[in-house]
């Protein structure tokens, strides 16, 4: 007996009186064969969320079971592509449907025509286990794709094709499974998007994801394999920050998920990334980027899926031994998709209408980040950076609060900083990173032994300022003693000269760690020298008149990234000019 549609309410469709479906199974709904997923099974009704627009569906149209969960298609051709939330290639869709997204196309995710230059790395008789590589091919100029046995498959190679040009669906090897059956393997495998790909074990987190953004790398760093949240009201620069990270962070591959956000933003990423040249490889950034675009007006259920699709793609490349950074913009839209579906199912709502399972879904997602030893003994990592769009810019709302519990790095974007056009508007008082201790050894060994000390000094100056500003707000700055005024002046240098970073300036958009460290050194040295001078009776106004503070603010523009030798002159000048003030007093 065939199963048919019993009821339709927005993206939720039900079938009555059937036991044919299993949870999270993928189904085709209606005569247009819309893609759907089973999200509830009772003896009366099977509930299905449909990933496409349900307008025009009729009661009584067939629902077709596929017997397998919603899967991501994994193989060469993912990088530099753009997909919708269920991994349908948007470029191919324009060829088929024109400028609008139409429903009912189960397009194959990858380019089946393109030929790859395949090197087969196994021979007949080799015993392979899940995760082992069997062939490689250059996918883009930056990324070598390595095909692996699906994690749950073991066996002996009975056929291996010679090296040569192959399409993704060509059989590369055949293996004999333990039960004696022979299994052909192409360059493509499928994996259910809601299930984490298996790993050998997790490794300790101790390497930073270097982003070239001073406030992040130095003050609130994130580790490779870590998870960070960027909460911020509208207009505070969440998307801008994510773009900067996607452009400059030292991951091998970026998975950028536009989840329920603006269409024009995705277009911008597409355009900008194909024009921007990665300085390390001299290739366009698209060569290492995958885009998943489920804009706010695309179907809401596919928005929910887009996050899972993105992380599954990331895990697949991690299994090849790459370091992946995921930008999820925005997880709030994903949570809202959960709320919307939950509402249609008439589930009992928890806080603000969000379903009670919101925290467990969030934790499942963020826990898929990690620095791991893969099944094939390579090491790889997935770093998740999720934007959060709190309702009414109120960080106490459920999505922000629950996210905070599952990430160890929190970059709070502040409205008043954004209004003052202080970018990135990461508020150093509200933000934190629990990775600092894990990473301190790396910074001290690889950048400079006093890196963490300098960082601490800078934090202290900022804290001191926050404290003093309370007083200044009440009585004005004039009444403060000179040493406190000095702290405020130095904090200004830190804020304007160090924390503020200009994404449109050719040198300032990405700053190497070495320069970050030297900039801190100049500021800290300026502060200490001035403090010493004050102690012997020099007036603060005389110190300010040297112009050293204004000069320190402009270091970010004045010293190019490739001429770090110039820092020596700055330090010398500080010594001399402030030293001269003390001397003149003594004389």
């Amino acid at each position: 007996m065939s199963n048919t549609i019993y009821s339709i309410n927005g993206p939720v469709v039900k079938a009555a009186d059937t036991k044919d479906f299993s949870m999270l199974e993928m189904v085709y709904v209606g005569s247009k064969r819309l893609i759907g997923e089973v999200i509830g099974v009772t003896d009366k009704f099977t509930t299905i969320q449909v990933y496409e627009n349900t307008a025009g569906l009729k009661i009584g149209e067939p629902i077709e079971s596929t017997g397998q969960p919603v899967c991501a298609t994994l193989g060469p051709g993912i990088i530099s592509n753009i997909f919708d939330g269920i991994e349908r290639p948007l470029r191919d869709m324009t060829k088929l449907n024109g400028v609008f997204v139409a429903e009912g196309n189960a397009l194959f995710s990858l380019d089946t025509e393109k030929k790859y230059d395949v090197t087969v790395t196994v021979k007949v008789g080799d015993k392979l286990k899940g995760g082992d590589f069997y062939c490689t091919c250059p996918e883009t100029a930056l990324i070598t794709h390595k095909c692996m046995l699906p994690p749950n498959v073991n066996g002996e190679v009975t056929f291996a094709a010679p090296n040569g040009q192959y399409q993704v669906n060509d059989t590369i090897i055949k293996i004999k499974l333990e039960d004696g059956t022979e299994m052909p393997l192409t360059m493509v495998q499928k994996w259910p998007i809601k299930k984490a790909r298996p790993i050998a074990r997790r490794l300790p987190i101790n390497r930073p994801l270097i982003t070239g953004q001073r406030v992040i790398d130095t003050i609130i760093p994130i580790a490779k394999g870590g998870a960070a949240a960027i909460p911020g009201g509208f207009g505070t620069g969440k998307t801008m920050t994510q773009h900067q990270l996607a452009k400059w962070c030292d991951a091998d591959i970026i998975v950028y998920i536009g989840c329920g956000e603006r269409g024009n933003e995705m277009t911008q990423v597409l355009e900008e990334f194909s024009e921007l040249i990665d300085p390390k490889s001299n290739r366009p950034l698209t060569d290492r980027t995958v885009l998943i675009a489920n804009t706010s007006n695309m179907p809401v259920a596919a928005r929910e899926a887009s996050i899972y699709t993105g992380i599954t793609l990331a895990e697949y490349y991690r299994d090849m031994g790459y370091h992946i950074a995921i930008m999820a913009d925005s997880t709030s839209r994903w949570a809202e998709a959960l709320r919307e579906i939950s509402g249609r199912l008439e589930e009992m709502p928890a806080e603000e209408g969000f379903p009670a399972y919101l925290p467990s879904r969030l934790s499942e997602f963020y826990e898929r980040a990690g620095y791991v030893k893969n099944l094939n003994d390579t090491e790889g990592s997935v770093t998740i950076i999720g934007a959060v769009s709190p309702q009414g810019s109120d960080f106490s709302e459920p999505v922000t609060q629950n996210t905070k519990r599952f990430v160890r790095c929190f970059w709070a974007l502040d409205k008043s900083l954004a209004y003052a056009r202080h970018y990135p508007a990461i508020d150093w008082n509200q933000s934190y990173s629990e990775y600092i201790e894990d990473l301190s050894a790396y910074f001290n060994e690889n950048v400079s032994p006093d890196f963490m000390d300098l960082r601490q000094e800078i934090s202290n100056i900022l804290q001191e300022e926050t404290k003093l500003m309370e007083i200044v707000k009440l009585i004005g700055a004039d009444v403060l003693p000179d040493d406190q005024k000095l702290a405020i002046e130095t904090a200004r240098v830190v804020r304007v000269g160090f924390l503020q970073q200009n994404a449109y300036h050719k040198d300032d958009t990405y700053v190497p760690l070495e320069k970050q460290m030297l900039m801190m050194k100049v500021i800290v040295s300026l502060y200490h020298k001035s403090l010493d001078a004050l102690k012997v009776g020099v007036m603060l106004s005389d110190i300010m008149a040297t112009g050293l503070f204004d000069k320190a603010v402009k270091i970010k523009y004045d010293i190019p990234n490739d001429k770090l030798g110039m820092f020596g002159d700055y330090l010398k000048e500080i010594d001399e000019k402030i030293g001269a003030l003390s001397v003149s007093l003594g004389a």
Binding site: Y6, S7, I8, N9, A16, T54, A55, G56, L57, K58, I59, G60, I82, L90, R91, T94, G98, V99, F100, V101, F234, G235, G258, G260, R262, G263, N264, T267, Q268, L270, E271, T295, S296, N297, P299, V300, R333, E336, A337, E340, S342, G343, E346, P349, E352, G353, Q391, S393, D394, Y419, A420, R421, K473, L474, I475, G476, A477, V496, Y504, K554
Partner: protein, 486 residues
């Protein structure tokens, strides 16, 4: 021959339920014929077994369980599309109400629209000159952008919208004419005329606005000679509330058709989005849905996005859809769900400030709260002027400091302020009175606006201008420029 269903099962607010139906499609349109001969339009919003729930656009007044016959059309709601829509007035459901008869359709368009494929979009880059200093310099409007106006009751948002329409002009493609020259020849909107007045048109959607307001817009369009280039969809505050949910859909369908198929530049003005969202809340609660924040349905974000995302520029067409939705913030609260969700979807916002408005500053825009996200790519060399970004950054930063100085002054008094803070206090006043404030008929060029910005910045000490490149500053900074203010 079509099947007619006699009678209804249930009536609840704007919703009616039918039983025993078959072959009905989700989202399709049905006609309900009443015994008195009148007809109403309904849309299928839920299907369960042989039961269908319909939303009646004109309201359920006078409908009983027995006096109707329902005919399902088998199609989603479609409106007639043709270039002749310009100059016409329609109701919220796309029916002509100006007594000029139906529009002869060139094609029929499904009002629900479909999502634009992000790959097919072009990133908006050309700016629209509005002649209003605060907007042009600090929150530049870009062709293909959606830039809402957040206002409050009693503020001059309508006046501003009219002024934008009146003065808006495109630059960069040799077409330095205003969208509607006053000398536009009156007459029919035949194809030749469309060619001669440039490819501009306005689609105006009024949702739940008062008669007076709708008339104000209509009169203003006439005065500027624009009325033949305007297509109006009116759902006034006395009109049925469910029809309000269709108004922007019809308007945007018309806009997309004119822009992407007829290659015109369409400016869509939608007012008032707050009434729209309230209609949605009413609809949702009569359907018995679980409410989200402040009683609005959980899908308010997706629903608003399905409207706002219909702005843009697409490949294969030289037209564009630019949206200026207007909404009144309930109780001037920008964190209210409607402005909050809107600003998360739109590419920036223009926010009115009641204090400035009451001081007589027109347009009294809150510079710090306002933002245009697409501005950075549509200004500067080749678009506006090379120093635009620098001036804008510095004006923002300086005006932010004005707020700090003012709050300090309110505690310790202005006399006790430091030299620098006093300079900021002065800058703040001059900025508001000369830069923000401008007449309804004053159309400032980009050069005038940016030079005015420089003049004002020169009232500050040079070392305070830390957002501007040293070289540019040396070239432009001249205390004498400030003389005319002091």
């Amino acid at each position: 021959m079509s099947l007619q269903y006699v009678g209804l099962k249930d009536i609840n607010g704007p919703l009616v339920a039918l039983e025993g139906v078959s072959g009905v499609a989700y989202d399709e349109i049905a006609r309900l014929r009443l015994n008195d001969g009148t007809e109403r339009i309904g849309r299928v919003v839920e299907l369960e077994g042989d039961k269908a729930i319909l939303q009646i656009f004109e309201g359920t007044n006078g409908i009983s369980l027995e006096n109707t016959r329902t005919i399902f059309s088998g199609k989603p709601l479609e409106i007639a599309l043709a270039p002749e829509m310009l100059g016409r007035v329609f109701n919220g459901a796309g029916k002509p109400i100006d007594g000029l008869g139906p529009v002869f359709p060139e094609k029929m368009g499904d009002v629900n629209g479909q999502a634009l494929n992000p790959v097919a979009r072009q990133y908006p880059r050309n700016y629209i000159h509005t002649g209003i200093s605060s907007i042009d310099a600090l929150m530049t409007l870009i062709r293909g952008q959606k830039l809402p106006i957040f206002s409050g009751s009693g503020l001059s948002h309508n006046k501003l919208a009219v002024q934008i329409v009146k003065q808006a002009k495109l630059t960069g493609e040799g077409s330095a004419n205003t969208m509607f020259a006053k000398s536009t020849p009156k007459g029919g909107t035949d194809a030749a005329n469309i060619g001669s007045t440039g490819d501009f048109a306005i689609v105006f959607a009024a949702m739940g606005v008062q008669n007076d307001v709708a008339n104000y817009f209509r009169r203003s369009f006439e005065e500027t000679g624009a009325s033949e280039r305007v297509c109006m969809f009116l759902n006034l505050s006395s009109d049925p509330i469910i029809e309000r949910l269709l108004t922007p859909l019809c308007a945007l369908t018309a806009a997309e058709y004119l822009a992407f198929e007829k290659n015109m530049h369409i400016l869509v003005i939608m007012t008032d989005m707050t009434s729209y969202a309230e209609a949605l809340r009413e609809f949702s609660s009569s359907k018995g849905e679980i409410p989200g924040r402040k009683g609005y349905p959980g899908y308010l974000y997706s629903n608003l996005a399905s409207l706002y995302e219909r702005a843009g520029v697409v490949e294969g067409s030289t037209g564009s859809v630019t949206q200026i939705p207007i909404l009144t913030m309930p109780n001037d609260d920008i964190t209210h769900p409607i402005p909050d969700l809107t600003a998360y979807i739109t590419e920036g916002q223009i926010v009115f400030d009641r204090d400035l408005d009451q001081r007589g500053v027109y347009p009294g825009l809150s510079v710090l709260l306002s933002l245009s996200r697409l501005m950075k790519d549509g200004i500067g060399e080749g678009y506006t002027r090379a120093d635009h970004q620098a001036v804008a950054n510095q004006l923002f930063a300086a005006y932010a400091k004005v707020q700090d100085a003012r709050s300090l002054a309110s505690v310790i008094g202005e006399e006790e302020l430091s030299e620098a803070d006093r300079a900021y206090m002065r800058f703040g006043r001059l900025f508001e009175d000369n830069f923000l404030n401008q007449g309804f008929d004053e159309n400032r060029s980009m050069d005038e606006t940016l030079d005015l910005g420089w003049d004002l910045l020169c009232t500050l000490p040079k070392n305070e201008l830390d957002r501007i490149d040293e070289k540019l500053l040396d070239e432009k900074y001249d205390p004498a420029r400030a003389a005319r203010f002091l």
